[in-house]
């Protein structure tokens, strides 16, 4: 459910891009976008939706799961 496709997570959303197709995703770029948001995507960091530690975890997980 939710916003993105990420095969490794079984996620099937279609609001934002399919994360398995996004070029050049890495820890830093995921953290940047999760923190500050992009378009309709919330700024999970700036708006304190997630803590820094949670964003670190998500960024690490996504960066290491794309294309798997």
């Amino acid at each position: 459910a939710a916003c993105h496709v990420l095969k490794a997570a079984g996620s099937e959303g279609n609001i934002g891009p399919n994360l398995d197709t996004v070029e050049g995703l890495n820890y830093d770029s995921v953290m940047d976008i999760v923190t500050h948001g992009l378009g309709v995507m919330p700024a999970f960091g700036e708006d304190e939706i997630l803590t820094k530690e949670e964003i670190d975890i998500v960024s690490f997980y996504v960066a290491n799961s794309v294309g798997k």
Partner: protein
């Protein structure tokens, strides 16, 4: 970074086991709905997502399934960009045939006029009929040249196209509604492509306000380069705002309102603002008028070996909201310039012109640049640095390096 990750390993595990996936995390944050849009994102044949599997994969650079760019050499070779080569940049999922339903019954409401009315597409098609050429260009076209790596697709030159639109002039529609109401300052267009997602319209609706004067040349378009407007480009009906960045050409159009204030939705109030690096806010200019711009389309490293001798240097040049007046070309990185010749038909001030400079090059390395002018403004050498990498028209970054053998 590694140190940090090691430190958080334990909590990482707990966190993920508690929520299962990133999707789960997002859902628990209660800002993302559980309902999802109709999935049309699966990868079809040719490495393109299903919803645009009719496009020419060889003409395109895939940044993601929702950010797809035209190769420099696949743009404007015969002035109008073929639909199968045109870039894709959609903030919301493209609406499906099922979501759209009977195209002739698609509705758009007109507000802020003396007699507010709702028209179906069939009614609009009886009201008027016009064709015009405009440049469709993403605000972030050229973002890939910024050194601070702004978030978003790393477009170079290919988030742009020259398109022939057919539809009804907004002015004709306004006249049919008795004219614009007093006090209007903006023309605000709203899409409905957020509706199937279930997201909060304040955050997800694509609503764009532009200065009211834009209506005089604007169009409600149902056809793109001779075919019914494809869903992926906002079909069955979109707003066309000539000379204004792509985002203002609202897709899947549901409402046009003449308003005294800019729309308060996120896509107007917060997004698409040209702010200094490190700053943001609605006090900064919105991505509205496009600046004068040009770039070389051939020869490039995409178009094969360049042999010594006579060479045709080809490109496209646009004037923004004014007619493009001249283009100069340099083969030595801007040390010297020669006037290029416009070729092909002139489709009006909102289209681009093709240009060519015939020259003779001996073996060696060259930096080829183009510099357009619309009479009032010309392209600067350098980019205007800004947070999100918008509105880049500096000639230096857009130049190409070639080797002649």
């Amino acid at each position: 970074m590694k140190k940090n990750i090691r430190k958080t390993n334990l909590s990482r595990r707990n966190f993920l086991s508690g929520t299962a996936t990133l999707a789960g995390i997002a859902a628990t944050a209660s800002v993302v709905p559980i309902s999802i849009a109709n999935a049309n994102h699966s990868e079809g044949k040719k490495g393109l997502p299903d919803f645009i599997n009719w496009k020419d994969r060889d003409a395109l650079i895939v940044h993601s399934d929702k950010g797809i760019e035209t190769h420099r050499s696949a743009i404007g070779e015969s002035l109008v960009t073929p639909n199968r080569n045109i870039y894709i940049r959609n903030n919301m999922p493209t609406m499906t045939d099922t979501q759209i339903g009977d195209r002739k019954k698609w509705k758009v409401s007109i507000e802020g006029v003396k007699n507010p009315q709702t028209f179906t597409l069939a009614q609009l098609q009886k009201l008027g009929h016009e064709t015009m050429a405009t440049i469709l260009q993403c605000s972030g076209n050229g973002r890939g040249f910024f050194e601070h790596k702004p978030r978003g697709s790393q477009w170079k030159t290919g988030a742009a196209a020259c398109v022939l639109w057919t539809g009804v002039p907004v002015k004709t529609v306004v006249d049919a509604c008795g004219g614009i109401s007093g006090g209007a300052v903006y023309m605000t267009s709203e899409g409905i492509d957020h509706e199937p997602t279930g997201l909060d319209p304040k955050k997800a609706m694509i609503a764009r306000s532009v200065p009211k004067k834009v209506y005089k040349d604007a169009m409600l378009a149902w056809e793109m380069n001779g075919v019914a407007l494809p869903n992926a480009h906002g079909g069955p009906l979109r707003m066309v705002t000539p000379g204004y960045f792509g985002i203002n050409n609202v897709k899947h159009l549901g409402k046009v309102a003449f308003t005294s204030k800019e729309s308060s939705v996120k896509y107007m109030a917060k997004s698409y603002r040209i702010s200094p690096i490190g700053k943001k806010g609605s006090q900064y200019p919105s991505c509205w008028e496009m600046p004068v711009k040009s770039w070389i389309t051939r020869p490039t490293d995409e178009t094969g070996t360049v042999k010594a001798g006579k060479v045709q240097i080809v490109g496209v040049a646009m004037g923004g909201t004014k007619k493009v007046r001249s283009v100069k070309v340099s083969v030595d990185g801007g040390s010297s310039w020669k006037k290029a010749k416009f070729i092909g038909p002139n489709l009006g001030k909102y289209a681009w012109r093709q240009f060519v400079l015939e020259t003779t090059l001996s073996a060696g390395s060259y930096n080829i640049a183009s510099l357009a002018s619309n009479g009032s403004d010309k392209q600067p050498e350098l980019r205007m640095e800004n947070r999100r990498g918008y509105a880049h028209n500096g000639w230096k970054d857009h130049s190409v390096n070639i080797t002649v053998v």
